[in-house]
Symmetry: C2
Subunit: 400 residues, 2 copies
């Protein structure tokens, strides 16, 4: 196990009706907040009114900034920063999914910073303070509700970049009411679940040795999704399965399951280029790219792929042919995602042109940067992984 | 899943050499601290010198209060409170195992309170503030390093009582260096591991429904102990297995694995009477009492006992005879603990007299209080469980 430091102090209020506590929780931090929202669904469901009512009851004034969209845009972040400065708002309350929360975190980091907030994303500056952020979550997926991470798209060049500050960007509280997710369409639910599983895979595939317990934690999250996602898709009103999925989404990315091990994260980088250019949902892109990444890296640590296949997919180990078992595990994952309505190739995702070389160049900074840790991927490897994710490439099997 | 609130902001510094960071971490909170220690082992190992050197380097003055012993005593807590008040110490640094940390928490709660700190333990008063506590852990067992709980023995009547304040009694930081546990004798290591597993069982046995993911988290901790404890006993210098055990001990009691479910905790109450009177190690007492508790309550939810047997002990389910599978699971647990050198009956623990009725009366407050939640135990049930834990009783099997 590697040395690590872990601190995640986000206060979680979980369960039925918890959104009514948002006013009291917010008031502990601020009396005038930026209420950051998304594309309007919370107004149709009544959540917006419930939040506003709770805030007003607690004596918290609010100014709304709506419009955060999937793959949240830098221009809206800039607007939020300006609003906070001009109107002296000292807290961001994000009500929505991961995109709204990510956008809120970027605003929070940008307000006290003199330069352009994008500096943080390109590594020109480091976050040393931020406004506090609270959240009311509506989509289990990104895990942004307790993480210190945010991902924003700079429209000027379609650059999608991540930023992490565990000290300053973890929300101070997050309210998770599974009832709020009952209206989430099944496709979006499945896309979110693919994101959740991918957050686990990014940690599961590690070269760190003696990580027995964290392997088990990762497997617990995966088994949870595998059991509960089909229940939700079959019966979207199933509170219990919705609740499991919501809590799984948080724990997949709270960092606990990854302590003591180095994660990979290449697939997130590879997918970011996809959703940056084609604006596909992040989770849908991951569901296409992860099996391709797995096939490409299969031989790097066959034991680990077999462990996943046996423990998570309940496959019987073929001791004479471990590669067969490992590949069966990947096939199980693809079959599971397909059965949940997710695309299994770039083409099925609606991507028919071949910009693989361009995306690989962008992801690797013109080849200057290798991606991932489990295996350090060069620019040409990334091209191969995009190819493996295409229908033609998939038929070729593992190539490394 | 039940509604819940969760917040655990303890900063964990985990790994080799982390005790050298104690000065810098402490200095963030205080410049003059009560350095609370145990029975002297840290002086023999050199840890005391390392901690003092780190504190002094960071400019932190310290006053030592040594002598916290297993089943920490109220009289020492009183002394610590007095020292903090008289010498204006505003932080407690606990260096040792769970008993030192529990003692430190009681001191921390007592300092700002006008009355007797014992009031908190008997429910006469509620903790509304406490000094901050930091810890350097030397024994993986109690999980006190991130919990909001403390257990103290009042020598006046041998009352052992617990107190929980998640808001005020969680340590602000805990330093976990597995190297520090390499000198821990194998018996104490096994006793600690029984405590860790018991913390999981207390949460595992619940009537809360639809707790799929938290079941898996509980099982992950149990599997981790089952794999790593024998490795440590065979090779006490095995850093990797020591590291797993240390992190398992923390997570067994950080509360995360129990979120959304009501725990039981009767066995802890039942054991507290044992170690209160006979001064046996808490974990050793639990290893005797838990199988007895399990047998007594087997029929309350046979499915849950079977799930434990199948998933954790890898037993094959006997679908025609689930009770057989459930009992085999309990036998596996007893066999595991016995193979690790733990006593399997009250007699083997050195308890030959029969004070079962007296202990049951004390544990239930003369029968006024029922113990536990999974099954609400009356005074006579508690007597039966003590009997089941004796050699004669064990031969009788389940009685409920």
């Amino acid at each position: 196990m590697d040395n690590f430091t872990y601190q995640n102090g986000t206060k979680i209020l979980f369960g039925r009706g918890t959104e009514t506590e948002v006013g009291v929780e917010t008031k502990k931090h601020s009396s005038k907040v930026l209420l950051h929202t998304g594309m309007g669904s919370i107004k149709r469901t009544g959540l917006f009114d419930a939040v506003v009512s709770s805030l007003e009851k607690a004596g918290v004034a609010w100014v709304e900034l709506a419009g955060a969209q999937p793959n949240p845009r830098l221009s809206l972040v800039h607007k939020g920063i300006q609003m906070c400065r001009e109107q002296k708002l000292d807290f961001i309350l994000a009500v929505g999914g991961g995109s709204v929360i990510d956008s809120a975190k970027a605003i929070a980091a940008g307000v006290p910073y003199q330069g352009d907030v994008w500096d943080f994303f390109v590594g020109k500056a480091k976050v040393t303070s931020a406004l506090p952020v609270g959240t009311v979550l509506t989509i289990p997926a990104a895990g942004s509700e307790t993480s210190g991470s945010t991902v924003v798209t700079n429209e000027d060049g379609n650059y999608k970049k991540g930023l992490t500050s565990e000290e300053f960007l973890r929300p101070v509280f997050s309210i998770l009411n599974p009832e709020l997710t009952k209206t989430l369409p099944v496709y979006e639910t499945a896309v979110g679940a693919a994101d959740i599983m991918s957050h686990v895979f990014e940690r599961y595939f590690t070269n760190s040795q003696n990580v027995d317990f964290s392997d088990r934690l990762c497997e617990a999250v995966l088994k949870g999704v595998i059991r509960n996602l089909p229940l939700v898709l079959a019966k979207p009103q199933d509170y219990d399965a919705r609740a499991e999925l919501m809590w799984l989404g948080t724990q997949a990315h709270s960092d606990l399951i990854g302590m003591g091990r180095v994660g990979d994260w290449a697939t997130h980088d590879i997918e970011h280029e996809l959703s940056g250019i084609y604006d596909v949902p992040h989770g849908a892109g991951l569901a296409v790219m992860f099996p391709a990444w797995m096939k490409f890296n299969l031989n790097h640590d066959l034991d680990r792929f077999c462990q996943l296949a046996v423990r998570v997919w309940n496959l019987e180990m073929d001791h004479k042919n471990p590669k067969k078992t490992a590949l069966e595990g990947i096939a199980k994952l693809q079959g599971f995602w397909a059965s949940c309505g997710l695309a299994t190739s770039l083409e099925k995702l609606g991507i028919h042109d071949n910009r693989y070389a361009e995306m690989a160049e962008k992801a690797t900074g013109k080849g200057k940067r290798k991606l991932g840790n489990f295996v350090k991927l060069e620019q040409k490897d990334v091209v191969s992984i995009y190819e493996l994710a295409s229908e033609k490439g998939a038929s070729l099997g593992a190539t490394r």
